[in-house]
């Protein structure tokens, strides 16, 4: 469904990503792991269209999409849950969700989808009129994911969704990701929580200094002692 080939991302003199290639198959969870600065978020941002690749190609559903603007990618079914949640804090919870559904052509579909999201995340229904900035960290993460789901994405990109959350909330987030995959959404997950990510991932990729250090199935990587070494060393 998604193929990244020889992706290079450079900021001025700094090469954040130095030629990585990987595939994400339909209905899979692929976990992109690695230390801070390994190039995970940069890779995700370039797939979502927020950053233009310096070189390399990104193919989505058989079509080249590198360099397309984020609004086009979003309309083609790619949705990003950005690092740090980035909900619109001065807008109400309902307005945040409503904006997430901007790509629906039909207002009834959009309203129905918003209803589904509020059923899935009851806390959002309770707080519908509240300013999103007043939600707790975990609730904001739920809102950020729900906002991304509003567009009925086929490919969901998640950037550090468990960062800064309380342990039970972390568990809920990972359960949610697994159940989204079971509903048929393809997921590319960037995480720092290695054990929990590998427990739900079909494939794992460990990045170090902008290159792929190790890759394999989730179960393989979970057994591999090098993973935690590479992860901690970089």
């Amino acid at each position: 469904m998604l193929a990244v080939e020889n992706l290079v991302m450079r900021y001025g003199p700094v090469e954040a990503v130095r030629g990585i290639s990987f595939n994400v198959g339909q209905g899979e969870i692929v976990a992109l792991l690695g230390a801070n600065g390994a190039g995970k978020s940069t890779t995700l941002a370039s797939i979502a269209g927020l950053l233009k690749p310096t070189s390399g190609t990104i193919t989505y559903n058989g079509r080249p999409v590198s360099g397309l603007p984020p609004e086009t990618l979003s309309r083609q079914g790619v949705s990003l849950v950005p690092e740090g949640r980035r909900i619109f804090s001065s807008l109400s919870v309902a307005e945040n969700l409503w904006l997430g559904g901007a790509s629906h052509a039909n207002a009834d579909d959009r309203r129905a989808r918003q209803n589904e999201m509020e059923e899935r995340f009851p806390i959002l229904r309770e707080r519908t009129r509240q300013k999103a900035g007043l939600l707790s960290g975990g609730e904001q993460q739920m809102l950020s994911i729900a906002r991304a789901l509003m567009s009925k994405p086929k490919l969901l990109l998640l950037d550090e969704p468990s960062l800064g959350l309380a342990p039970q909330m972390v568990e809920r987030v990972f359960d949610l990701i697994a159940s989204l995959r079971d509903e048929g959404i393809t997921i590319l997950l960037v995480e720092q929580n290695v054990p929990m990510s590998l427990a739900i991932a079909d494939h794992g990729i460990v990045l170090a200094n902008g290159r792929i250090a190790i890759s394999g199935t989730g179960a393989e990587l979970a057994r591999d002692s090098k993973v935690s070494e590479t992860y901690l060393a970089a």
């Binding site: 984020p70 609004e71 001065s90 997430g100």
Partner: protein, 295 residues
């Protein structure tokens, strides 16, 4: 007492005009970080459109509507022609671009029409007065205040009831994420300039109606006041722009009304000193913008 109340009406009426202009600046600034000094020239363009329409014997109501529509188009065209190419440039480059646009438009009217004011004749009833109790209020003040209130209500509805309006508020906080949910950046920016243009057009109608003439520099002075108002209210904050606009109008009218003859020439200096004093006490403005996370 009645003089004081009359001054209050004048202050609200002038403050409202500054508030609308300041809102026009703030709406654009909150989204593209551009302080558009050509905003005053959007007013000027609207003024000449009204003048031309009246000269061609178009009915007054249609001429006013035309002025507002032309202002909206002028503002959107300005973005499309001058500012879009500069998107993402630093604040200084954007500022210089806006000065360039402003100068070009001024020179165009100076050389293309005339540097002198051209008269605009509006129906006599608009320059009359009405007595409410012991107050004598000009019809123009009543019209101004009503128009300002209606404009603020209309803007609030656009910003809270339409997807693109809500997206504009979101974009003031975090533009990249607005694009991530599938809303086209160009649409949001175009709407901001359209709203800004309509506000400048409405202001132009009120301004022209009060002064009875149009000249190439007519937008320069009010937009400077509006700029002061946006800074006073908190740059990029919409409610701040309104508060700042009223504050500037109130200070100006009361200094004009109550300052002794001997210090009258220092009026502007005194009013700016008061504003500096407010900014010293509240450096982020009266109602600062809330946005925090901006890359």
């Amino acid at each position: 007492m009645d003089v004081f109340l009359q001054q209050c009406v004048n202050a609200i009426s002038l403050g409202g005009i500054y508030a609308l202009l300041a809102l026009g600046l703030a709406v654009v600034f909150s989204i593209v970080r551009l302080i558009n000094f050509a905003h005053g020239e959007v007013m000027t363009v609207a003024g000449y459109a009204i003048w031309f329409a009246l000269l061609s014997s178009v009915p007054v109501a249609a001429a006013i509507l035309l002025g507002v529509v032309v202002a909206m188009l002028a503002s959107v065209a300005m973005e499309r022609i001058a500012f879009r190419a500069m998107r993402g440039a630093n604040v200084t480059s954007l500022l210089i671009t806006s000065f360039a646009v402003s100068e070009i438009i001024k020179v165009f009217f100076q050389n293309g029409i005339t540097a002198r004011p051209v008269p605009i004749v509006l129906p006599a009833w608009m320059s009359g007065t009405v007595n409410i109790g012991f107050l004598t209020i000009s019809v123009m003040s009543i019209i101004s205040i009503t128009v300002v209130i209606l404009s603020l209500i209309a803007l609030t509805l656009v910003l809270t009831r339409t997807t693109l309006g809500v997206a504009m508020r979101a974009a003031a906080e975090d533009f990249p994420v607005v694009r991530l949910v599938g809303i086209k950046a160009n649409h949001v920016v175009a709407l901001a300039f359209a709203i800004s243009g309509v506000l400048a057009g409405v202001t132009a109608v009120l301004w022209v109606a009060q002064r009875g003439s149009v000249d190439p520099l007519m937008g320069a002075a009010p937009v400077l006041k509006a700029f002061i108002a946006t800074v006073l209210g908190g740059l990029g904050s919409l409610s701040g722009a309104v508060a700042g606009g009223f504050a500037v109008g109130i200070v100006e009218v009361f200094l004009q009304g109550y300052l002794p003859e001997s210090v009258a020439p220092y009026r502007e200096a005194i009013s700016l000193s008061i504003i500096i004093a407010i900014l010293v006490a509240r450096p982020d403005g009266l109602l600062p913008a809330q946005n925090v996370n901006r890359s």
